[in-house]
């Protein structure tokens, strides 16, 4: 492909080119990391002592800075008969090599917790996912309807949005102490932090999306006899539903960012506890593994939701979806059960 085709403004690439770039986007950081880890003269600011020689305070396996190592050896070599210490160049302990982290993916799940009462990694993850789920669910339960109402009706928007805009600037972790005081030290305050972190943004984002609805569709529905509630539920909401769904995907990502601060509130728990504990033991490969696992869960959730979205909104993809046909048949014989229309005598043509 000629260079001009790659860098044409607003042009999509061919599927193989897209796949290659997606692959590279993950591969390049990995290559960089491998280079720094495995090529001894790249960075490696420390020396791992292999033989202490005559340096009194050196031990095998000790990591010292290169300047210190050289200085000590100089002092030893200056004394007659002194044996110089030996060592290999090494990276700091907080930068484990890729293969160590890869191994940690396996061992982290299999290592018995050191202290009694501590959780296995998969249990910590399950706890974190549960916290995220409830936080996001409770936030959405109120935030999405309120956002839709704000977007559709100016009075509600003018009443609710100024204070929400104000609270939005208060960092969610600042409510940590308060949440513990009110809700205790276990899971409830953590869920509360995620709710606080998500909810206020959510209302504003959803309201903005709903506000961008096509007024032409509302007018068309009005000339067809749609009234207030029908306009909202049968026109405005469906017309923005795809954007709302994508908003929710982005907001779920935000909820994950609040997880780490939420989990140190009260009794530290979940994946954050695992990370902090492993960092304390200086098992940094486990720390990296845990962080990457969070990334993978986030990416997998988002991709799954994107895939689900294609099935939910067939008018966007243009192909009939089995999911949609299924729900179509499920509701085919009845009115939408939550909002039954008032029965009227139908006008005859």
């Amino acid at each position: 492909m000629p260079r001009s085709r790659w860098f044409a403004i607003g042009k999509e690439l061919s599927p193989p080119a897209r796949r290659t770039l997606t692959f590279l986007s993950f591969l390049l950081p990995l290559v960089l990391w491998s280079a720094v880890s495995y090529v001894p003269w790249l960075w490696h600011p420390l020396v791992r002592v292999t033989a202490p020689g005559d340096v009194a305070w050196f031990q095998p396996g000790l990591l010292v800075e290169r300047a210190v190592f050289a200085g000590e050896n100089q002092k030893i070599l200056a004394t007659p008969g002194g044996r110089a210490a030996e060592g290999v160049r090494a990276n700091p302990v907080f930068l484990p090599a890729p293969h160590e982290v890869a191994r940690a993916f396996w061992t982290a799940f299999n290592t018995k917790p050191i202290l009694r009462g501590e959780l296995w990694l998969h249990e910590s993850l399950a706890l974190s996912i549960k916290t995220i789920f409830w936080g996001f669910f409770i936030s959405s339960l109120v935030g999405v309807p309120l956002g839709i109402l704000c977007g559709a009706y100016a009075p509600i928007s003018r009443l609710a949005e100024p204070v929400i805009d104000f609270v939005r600037y208060m960092p969610a972790p600042a409510f940590g102490a308060l949440a513990v005081a009110v809700l205790g030290i276990y899971d409830a305050p953590k869920v509360a932090i995620i709710v606080i972190g998500t909810f206020f943004q959510q209302v504003l984002v959803i309201a903005n999306t709903v506000r961008r609805h096509d007024p032409g569709l509302v007018e068309a529905a009005q000339t067809l006899g749609a009234r207030r509630r029908q306009l909202l539920l049968r026109v405005i909401v469906p017309s923005c539903i795809v954007d709302l769904y994508n908003d929710q995907r982005i907001l779920l990502g935000w909820a994950w960012t609040y997880l780490i601060v939420a989990e140190v509130v009260g009794v530290s728990s979940g994946i954050t506890f695992f990370i902090n504990q492993q960092a304390k033991y200086r098992n940094f490969e486990n720390v990296y593994a845990a962080i990457i696992i969070i990334g993978l869960i986030g990416l997998a959730t988002d991709q799954a939701l994107a895939f689900l979205g294609q099935g939910l909104f067939p008018w966007k993809s243009g192909r009939p979806s089995r999911l949609h046909v299924f729900f179509g048949q499920l509701f085919a014989s009845r009115d939408v059960p939550l909002f039954p229309a008032k029965p009227k005598s139908p006008p005859q043509p």
Partner: protein, 301 residues
């Protein structure tokens, strides 16, 4: 307008006896829509703008009335007032003798931009108005399918609007507006976005639908030929402010075909509309200040 044709054309106000008889019968029909001294002013920080002033006329049952006017004469404002999507600042609207306010399915509307619901299939789009008046789903569906058949889209009944061409979208929109049995069908430049060929097809379709359905049509256009081809009467507006200029009874006999566009009646009406819409300017042709930018001898004519 050349001198030759000007000499040979009949008076557009003197229709043939058959057409005159048709208009006499048309005016005997009950009045469906009555517009009384309708006016609309907009006040902005720049001051008052009178978009429409003192518009009055009557539309009889099953009449086809076109509204034309120069751009900026308030055609769209006018039809939005009739549809109830905008409130008049003076005057009133009577539908079957009763004053109406706000939008209602008794005045169906077809928009220039289609405004189909993109998340609904063709069938569900047409069912929308029927469901809004409380018809149950199975009955609405069977009725919608009849309308879809009438506009010739049975093959596309399960397609989404995004999969349709412009003409098919507008046919869906017409079926959707007709399904709740409106007294008046309002059409705001419905074929403005279509190419010439599709537009001609749609005009034929619309005349066919109008003949077979008990509906009165109020049709806005800026295309003079379209107005003459479709309308019984043409309401000509003038701009700044929008007022009724003339209400022309089209002398072209029905059934109408595009072939009639060279008949004397058609040309006479066309000339009158041209005079009303495009009054002769003092400087007929302004010369553009263009310098020659091509090489000597490189001529295209």
């Amino acid at each position: 307008m050349s001198v030759l044709s000007e000499a040979g054309l009949p008076d557009y106000r003197a229709p043939s006896p058959a057409v005159a008889e048709r208009f006499r019968r048309l005016k005997e029909r009950p009045v469906v829509l009555e517009v009384e001294h309708l006016g609309r002013e907009f006040s902005s920080n720049g001051g008052h703008v009178t978009a429409l002033r003192d518009i009055s006329f009557r539309v009889h049952r099953r009449e086809f009335l076109c509204v034309i006017g120069p751009s900026g004469c308030g055609k769209s404002t006018f039809i939005r007032l009739v549809a109830g999507l905008d409130q008049p600042t003076s005057g009133r609207l009577l539908l079957d003798g009763k004053e109406v306010h706000g939008p209602s399915p008794d005045r169906g509307m077809v928009f220039q931009g289609y405004t189909l619901f993109p998340w609904l299939t063709v069938t569900r789009n047409v069912m929308f108005g029927l469901e809004m008046v409380g018809m149950d789903r199975t009955q609405a569906q069977s009725e919608a399918l009849q309308w879809i058949e009438l506009v010739g889209l049975t093959r596309f009944k399960d397609a989404y609007p995004a999969q349709l061409s412009g003409g098919m979208k507008q046919r869906t929109a017409i079926a959707r507006a007709l399904a709740p049995n409106p007294r008046v069908l309002l059409m705001d430049e419905p074929f403005g976005a279509l190419d010439a060929q599709t537009r001609a097809q749609m005009q034929a379709h619309l005349l066919e639908i109008w003949r077979n359905v008990d509906v009165t049509i109020l049709f806005i256009t800026h295309d003079l030929d379209e107005a003459i081809l479709l309308a019984d009467r043409i309401l000509v507006l003038k701009a700044h402010p929008g007022e009724v200029n003339e209400l022309i009874e089209v002398p072209v006999p029905r059934p109408r075909t595009p072939a009639q566009s060279s008949t004397p009646e058609f040309l006479a009406t066309r000339r009158r509309l041209d005079e009303l819409i495009h009054p002769r300017l003092e400087t007929p042709h302004e010369k553009l200040p263009i310098v020659r930018l091509t090489q000597v001898g490189d001529d295209v004519e």
